[in-house]
Symmetry: C2
Subunit: 250 residues, 2 copies
């Protein structure tokens, strides 16, 4: 069943009207008809099944039939902060990270980030990243559409971190020296609805200066197992472990 994220907040609406790109998808791409069912995800994560009652030239009307009972979201808020990697790796992180439950993506310019963030191409790139998140959220049946923010500087990342309850750095050097306790310790400390910031380096990792600075700012440096993980794999390990910890093991 197709899923559509809309801008409204849920407050016992009996019906919903969908226009724009999603209307086009329903009417022209999926070629749905009156009577067909869709999921409608409201801004506050409330999700309803809705039966199409009318398809016009520019909008679809649907009658709310039921609320989705199952909670699809992690009980903690996870921000994935990736040192800007090369090529289309960030797209991969966004797509799979969304399937795995990430709440938001905060790319940042790391010391070893090679790719340049071109202000002229920026809006198009950001739009593409958010489109990828939206498609992944629909396909994985999320009830939240994780935003992808414009890349920030390392100092802006430090500032941003003050809004989080827990701050973790996946640091390769920790893995190499056999550190395996800190990540579990952090997850055990975390409470439901905590905001957790996870920082990952680009290819080549974070510099030791970046790692010290983050540590001085209260970040916990953690190993993610004994094997070295690529920049696009590490966030997926962390999110999977978090799901296993909070959802499967509870």
């Amino acid at each position: 069943m197709q899923r559509y994220f809309i801008e409204e907040v849920y407050s016992d609406q009996k019906s919903v009207r969908i226009s724009g790109d999603d209307f086009h998808h329903i009417a022209r791409v999926m070629r749905m008809n009156e009577g067909d069912l869709i999921w409608v995800v409201y801004k506050d994560a409330k999700t309803a099944s809705a039966k199409i009652t009318h398809i016009s030239d520019s909008y679809v009307e649907a009658e709310i039939t039921d609320l989705e009972k199952q909670d699809k979201e992690l009980p903690v808020h996870i921000a994935i902060a990736s040192g800007l990697p090369k090529g289309d790796k960030l797209e991969w992180i966004i797509q799979k990270g969304t399937e795995l439950g990430a709440s938001e993506f905060v790319p940042f310019i790391a010391g070893r980030s090679i790719v340049k963030w071109d202000d002229k191409k920026a809006p198009k790139k950001l739009e593409r990243w958010n489109k990828i998140a939206k498609e992944a959220a629909e396909q994985s049946h999320r009830q939240v559409l994780p935003p992808v923010h414009s890349p920030i500087s390392f100092n802006e990342l430090i500032d941003l971190s003050r809004k989080f309850d827990r701050k973790i750095v996946a640091y390769e050097e920790e893995a190499k020296s056999g550190e395996q306790k800190n990540f579990v310790k952090e997850l055990n400390f975390a409470k439901q609805e905590d905001k957790i910031l996870l920082v990952f380096g680009p290819e080549g990792g974070l510099t030791s200066k970046e790692a010290s600075e983050l540590s001085a700012q209260g970040f916990e440096l953690c190993g993610l197992g004994p094997r070295i993980l690529r920049t696009e794999t590490a966030p997926l390990y962390a999110l999977s472990a978090i799901s296993y910890h909070f959802e499967l093991m509870r």
Copy 2:
């Protein structure tokens, strides 16, 4: 430090000789010199650091200096059996699955597998897949090079499963109905060095007939959290959760 997987078994050798593709990589690609250090991984997972003593036209000689102390391998043997997916998704599964510690890859022709397994192209494809595993094993500092087997049929998969201690199916329908206990239960039952077979469907998932057959054969049907994961993401979730369970949480 570069890592090379060789065909010998470790038995207190004082030196090692490397030829073929790895010789080419050392001498021509990395352009190493006498005195440079490399990791040499023996067939039985013993890994030694070695100092290059001689570079000829066709081989490199190196003197064994030390054994790698840290254990990089999962304490359980994990076989990833993927219903053959489309495009290059299996290559992603092999690359990231190897980073995450998989012991072997067993692709199989699932009911909903669209891609045809062409016997003429088979050897080249298999060679490519094993090359990808080798590069990923080197980069992630593994001590075992996970083999990628030639795709087998569903019935051959059932036969093969008899060699395993535990057998798990990541089944989407279980996730949709909220099943979240079985995977943890299986991992809690597993003992060190157990051989565990994990089966994943292709795009579109396993058919209900395949799932029933696997269940009848003693496979545990498990959900991997409440979100629907793509065919190439599910194995990465499972491997990460297994690492979290056996390596970080022990």
